[in-house]
Amino acid sequence: MVYSDTVMDHFKNPRNVGEIKDADGTGNVGNPMCGDMMTITIEVKDNVISDIKFKTFGCAAAIATSSMITELVKGLTIEDALKITKDDIVENLGGLPPIKLHCSNLAADALKKAIDDYREKLNK
């Protein structure tokens, strides 16, 4: 299995690592039993994702997709952020090995959950 240069770059130097204290939205997906788990926290200002951080337990692909999605959505409106698909992530990473494609699901799901959480809080 060989990863693209972009995957390896994001794996080696992951962007936006960490957890936002008192985040506006938090998304947790995956399960350590399955070998993949991800937490995304977002800060939202004026409907725009002003900050985003991730923590990931998983393989290089899981880490790189997490890192990539944070880069892709930072600065986007909530609506535009939701338009980012797993295919966008994979494309931006220069592809993923077939058996690793499920990792891109995970990252997209985590973002969606964080946004859902944000909206829920907003509506309370």
Binding site: F11, P32, M37
Partner: protein
């Protein structure tokens, strides 16, 4: 400043560097003595003699007779001939093996299960030792084969094959005893007579010989059907033109290993324990898989790092020039956690963070110390990334 990239190979249970003397021994068989050993002319006779000489060397190394050794294309083929060959000769019955076999045994016996054979997998304890009592009770009059992995390829646990051989033959002298010695050969002494072994698999590329060569010991009198059919090679048990240079290289590797076996085993054990101790001292939340001390294969270290995933560790180590494996090389492209780690009761989420280091006669103290130097930083970096760490 010019950076010399280090290159520390610690994946010797996956495959080993071929010894220079082995390469030299093979070369004449590529370009001078290239005859087919079945041919009657002098080119063929010389090739045949090389085969015979190699057979003697391999036979001697396990206290067997030369005619009890057939050469194969590797450990997997040896395992397949043993299991499928006995099954084909006996037609039905019970086959007993363990929960921690290499896929070459695991998948063959599972296939036989679908063909109507009764297959039992013996449990192992948390260090990977098989439940001897369960084994003993499982051997009945119908039991045609017991297949046991000698030194486990993932966690290094060494089974007591002398005791097992005696138990098998006491319970049922007609039960064949197969030992998968691919990982123990040239690391542990093996005596097929005293351990009452009927069949034993070994592979060249795990002992600094070439890839694509293995051998199967078949005790005189053992009934076995051949799988691969064709010309009458290897006592009609394995058709196909013999890989003469490969076999010569295999035998040469055996010879060279035997020269200083005790010495370098001692050194391996020293380095192995230095690595284990060093990691345990420097890195928190780690679990050593497999036993400590004399019952652990001399070249094996298998450690689980909580909260992080094995592939990430492997790739970060690779960037530092250190080659290791997650579980066994064979399963490293699949996503399922290792069946061996599951069998010793390691929680699944911890299985995912397991790394196997396997040393060789080429491994140095400096290399181990280099690993111990860079490793804590890598683990710290990955744990900082992990959402599990905080818990």
């Amino acid at each position: 400043m010019i950076m010399v990239k280090k290159s520390v190979y610690l994946d010797n249970s996956a495959s080993t560097r071929v010894l220079d003397e082995v390469v030299s021994a093979m070369i004449p068989y590529f370009t001078e003595i290239y005859g087919n050993p079945s041919s009657l002319h002098s080119f063929g006779i010389k090739a045949k003699k090389a085969l015979d000489d190699s057979r003697k060397i391999v036979a001697n190394s396990i206290n067997a007779n030369p005619e009890e050794i057939i050469f194969t294309s590797g450990g997997t083929e040896s395992d397949n001939i043993a299991v499928f060959g006995v099954a084909a000769a006996r037609k039905d019955g019970r086959i007993i093996t363990t929960k921690i076999e290499h896929p070459a045994i695991k998948n063959t016996v599972q296939k036989l299960k679908t063909q109507g054979f009764e297959v039992l997998f013996i449990d192992v304890d948390y260090e990977g030792f098989i439940n001897i009592k369960q084994l003993e009770e499982s051997i009945n009059a119908d039991t045609i084969l017991v297949s046991i992995i000698h030194a486990n390829n993932e966690i290094g646990t060494i089974q007591d094959i002398e005791t097992i051989g005696n138990i098998i033959k006491t319970k049922n002298p007609n039960t064949y005893f197969h030992v998968d010695a691919v990982q123990s050969y040239m690391k542990l002494p093996i005596d097929v007579v005293s351990a009452k072994i009927d069949l034993l698999s070994i592979a060249s590329h795990k002992i600094h010989g070439p890839k694509g060569v293995g051998a199967l010991y078949i005790r005189n009198g053992v009934k076995l059907k051949s799988l691969q059919l064709g010309g009458s090679h290897e006592k009609n048990l394995r058709a196909g033109t013999e890989n003469v240079p490969g076999i010569v290289g295999f035998a040469k590797a055996v010879e060279l290993n035997l020269v200083d076996l005790e010495e370098y085993t001692k050194n391996l054990v020293f380095l192995r324990d230095r690595l284990i101790d060093g990691i345990e001292k420097r890195i928190p939340h780690v679990i050593l898989n497999g036993p400590r001390g004399v019952s652990r294969n001399s070249n094996n270290v298998n450690i689980s790092f909580k909260h992080i995933e094995g592939e990430s560790i492997l790739l970060y180590l690779d960037m530092q020039g250190i080659a290791v494996s997650t579980g066994s090389a064979c399963s490293s492209t699949s996503l399922k956690p290792s069946h061996v780690l599951e069998a010793i009761g390691l929680p699944v989420e911890i299985c995912h963070g397991s790394i196997r280091f396997t040393l060789s006669r080429y491994t140095t103290k400096e290399e181990i110390d280099y690993v111990l130097e860079v490793f804590p930083k890598i683990i710290a970096k990955l744990r900082a990334l992990s959402p599990l760490n905080a818990n």
